[in-house]
Amino acid sequence: MTIPHKKAPNKTLQIRPSPHISGGASVEKIMANVILALMPTVLFAIYLFGLAALVTILIGTFSCLLTEYLFCKANGKPSSISDNSIIITGVLYSLTLPPGLPLWMVCIGGIIAVLLGKLLFGGLGYNLFNPALVGRAFLQAAFPSAMTTWYPAMNADRFTSLPLSTLTFPFTTPSYDTISSATPLAAMKFDQILTDSSDLFLGLSSGSLGETSSLLILTGGIYLIARRMMRWQIPAGIFITVVIISTITHNISPNTYPSAQFMLFSGGLMLGAMFMATDMVASPITAKGCFIYGLLIGVLVMIIRLWGGMPEGVMYAILFANAVSPHIDRWTQPRPYGYRKTKS
């Protein structure tokens, strides 16, 4: 190394491999855009469920933030809150919860989501599974009854009072208001009551906070795809499989199996396909891999919905596909130019 001459202009020759032009994308920017894309869904959830949605989303996000902050502090690492990814985890996690879920359960799920789903694997970029879904899956297995009690949408006093169950004392069994309603999928599966598809599309039905309006979720997703911050192959793969399988089964037996429209717009499929399955860390890298990953999720969702014991299976389908995505990456590894496969 030579010391540059004092009069020489302050420019150094940099030699480095391509790419030379960067798009200016950073974790912070992409995550901020995802938050922006989620905003319509969040606001609609608050409109639909009132204060119950607001406190659930606030507490869910705050518990995730606090867990990450305290973990980084306890380990003497620089805080990783500022990359915005934890806010997305928190908001997405809250959107998967039913309105009126006791807030202490919301907190526990948030802690589990961030601690077990993300931090213990090594933080952002190392998580095998979508952290938000890890938190939800834990709650679903730990508190099955609370997670399947649904507070109805569009309650008259939703902006003035909270559901009885929300403020349950920590670690005690919640008591519910007398009014509760079934989700469209549960109504279909257990009582054969079909909800109107246009209601589902616009979101005027009960369910988890973020699984109501397909229209708004699609808008957010298309925004992200247009800005190339999301792989369109993943939702495309999911939608194609769901449409094909449900069309076939619907034509075989229209009374037992609902139509493709119903399947697409009900439950967590939209939110899962657009925002959960497309988790950049837990999904495959190549375009072809993403499409296969989408197909796999679609098939699993349909198997669970049609023949499984539960009405909804998007969460388990995505978690399962997350586990398989490293293998999909290995199968779809692009062939370098000039490389020939050797017979072995």
Binding site: P102, A142, F143, A146, F171
Partner: protein
């Protein structure tokens, strides 16, 4: 089944008799340090009483088989030693199986197939192969007792946490108030993995801190 053994006798002089007993409790705990015998550890620890019964059954088998293997260590030919150890272990497992059935049929049914499966518990075979076949009967007895007690403690650690959160009770007595919301997952296999992982986290944290200071 993978058998990992640790060489700990880094110092030259042979460890004292009490050391052979104590090492199984914490330093070489079969559950938390050697991470052996995971099948019963995860499967039957959904309540403290199940964990205790499983631990004591294993304790009996490991003490007896260690002693007998050690006594017979010069008589057993090298080539068939594993088969001979399994035969010895299986004898004591059969004894425990019948004993448990006679003492408490409900407990026996709760433990199910996992009592006969003690035969293939790698802690027991591991101790026979790595320790009892090379040491005197007295040392093998103490080693087996330490390991068996360590295993029981490990199982109890898991079983107590899982029963407390999963059913709100401890050894069948309701400890938490009636309106405690039970964590169903703790009674499911997933809860076993969670609890084991968190115990390993805690124990490794303390062990590492001890090494650093």
């Amino acid at each position: 089944m993978e058998i990992r053994t640790k060489v700990i006798n880094s110092h030259d002089k042979t460890p004292s008799h009490s050391d052979e007993f104590i090492k199984g409790l914490w330093r070489e705990n079969p559950v938390f340090v050697q991470v052996l015998g995971m099948c019963p550890t995860l499967a039957v620890t959904n309540s403290a009483i199940n964990a205790l019964a499983m631990g004591l059954a294993t304790f009996f088998v490991i003490v007896m088989s260690n002693t007998l293997v050690s006594l017979l260590r010069h008589a057993i030919p090298q080539q068939v030693r594993i088969a001979s150890y399994i035969l010895i272990i299986a004898t004591f497992v059969t004894l425990v199986d019948y004993l448990l059935q006679a003492m408490s049929l409900t407990l026996h049914q709760a433990l199910g197939a996992f009592v006969p499966l003690i035969v293939v518990n790698c802690v027991i075979l591991g101790r026979a192969e790595a320790f009892a076949s090379k040491n005197s009967a007295a040392r093998s007895f103490l080693d087996g007792a330490g390991m068996g007690l360590g295993f029981t403690l490990g199982l109890l650690c898991l079983g107590m946490v899982r029963e407390l959160l999963g059913s709100g009770s401890l050894f069948g007595f309701m400890l938490l108030p009636d309106n405690f919301e039970k964590w169903t997952i703790m009674l499911l296999p997933g809860g076993g993995f969670f609890t084991l992982g968190l115990w390993l986290l805690v124990i490794n944290y303390f062990n590492r801190r001890k090494v650093q200071s």
